[in-house]
């Protein structure tokens, strides 16, 4: 197999991947740092941590897994999956919330 110089397109995408990598490292640092800050309530800490995690996850899925350049079919599959995951978690937690249970 002979080596060949990376094309302009390919160097561009490698650079993109490195940017994402650095962003992920930064996000990790950010989330650890934010966990030591005492926002008003625990809920805010949770929201901050999950937001940062979601952004990191988006970067991995969109760029490393190149979902951003995939076609409709995959979007459909993952879209429905995301919906049903949300429904499963949401409806289960809602059903088991204390004021939605009948206590005798």
């Amino acid at each position: 197999m002979s080596d060949h110089e990376l094309t302009a397109h390919e160097t561009h995408s490698v650079r993109g991947y490195i940017f994402v990598f650095i962003a992920l490292l930064a996000g990790t640092g950010l989330t650890v740092w934010a966990s030591f800050i005492h926002f008003g309530s625990q809920e805010i800490n949770i929201a901050v941590a999950l937001t940062i995690a979601t952004v990191k996850a988006f970067l991995v899925v969109a760029y490393f897994m190149h979902l951003i350049s995939e076609r409709k079919m995959i979007y459909c599959v993952m879209g429905f999956t995301a919906f049903f995951f949300a429904a499963m978690m949401g409806l289960t937690l809602w059903s088991l919330a204390p004021n939605n249970l009948v206590h005798t």
């Binding site: 990790t28 650890v32 995690a53 995959i74 978690m89 289960t92 937690l93």
Partner: protein, 267 residues
Amino acid sequence: MDFPYIVEPRRDTGLYNAKLGIWLFLASEVMLFGALFSAYVLLRVGAEPGMWPHGWLNVPVGTANTIVLITSSITTVLAWVSCQTRQFGRFRFYHACTLLLALTFVCIKSYEYHDKFTHYEFTLANGKFADGHLVEKSRDFNLAQKTGSVILHGREVEREVELMDLHRPEARHLQHVEITIPATGIKKMERYGPWHHTYLAIYFTLTGLHALHVICGAVVIGFLWGPGAKMWQTDPKRFTNRIEISGLFWHFVDLVWIFLFPVLYLL
């Protein structure tokens, strides 16, 4: 009849078969880990106030593991790019890094598990609690027969709830000392295993299942790096597709950890 779309994508879907296959499989994995995360939320929300642990896991170690996995993700994607640009040597290098990083992750995880399994909570006869790492058991130590003693490196507290939230200001200045406890003073001793608290149960289950996925992913990538690399000679395009597919699985494993880390270690 020839088998279509193994290498070249089908025009209307833009996909080759295995890529659709792996995304479908990942969809099922989302539901699998999703159910476990739902369990986590429910168990935490349903716990008695003050009795949900915080700070039981080592944040620097967890952060290190996060960096390890993120790095393995970039090496994975670069391995695939190397295949696309027909640079076999580079592919071999990058995926060797991926495999080493996977090994590192599992080693660090094992260290963490070991740390938990050597950590004990003692319910004392005087109604107090002692908590810490076991340093030494005396040779004649037998809890049932109440002989001997243990030495632990930890602390003694009045109430069990003080052992839960280690993020509280009071807990931040803990002193860990060597305590010797005779067997006669111990009512119950329990390791920090999954049976000890539902937090540990979900921690071990989530990270254990995740680690299993890390190992399986590493085995597949290892196979493709080693014996499976023969296909590079006969069908490089199909081999590149295999690297892409295994890479997609690996990124998913990284993705799960991106959520596991803050949820279990930081919150």
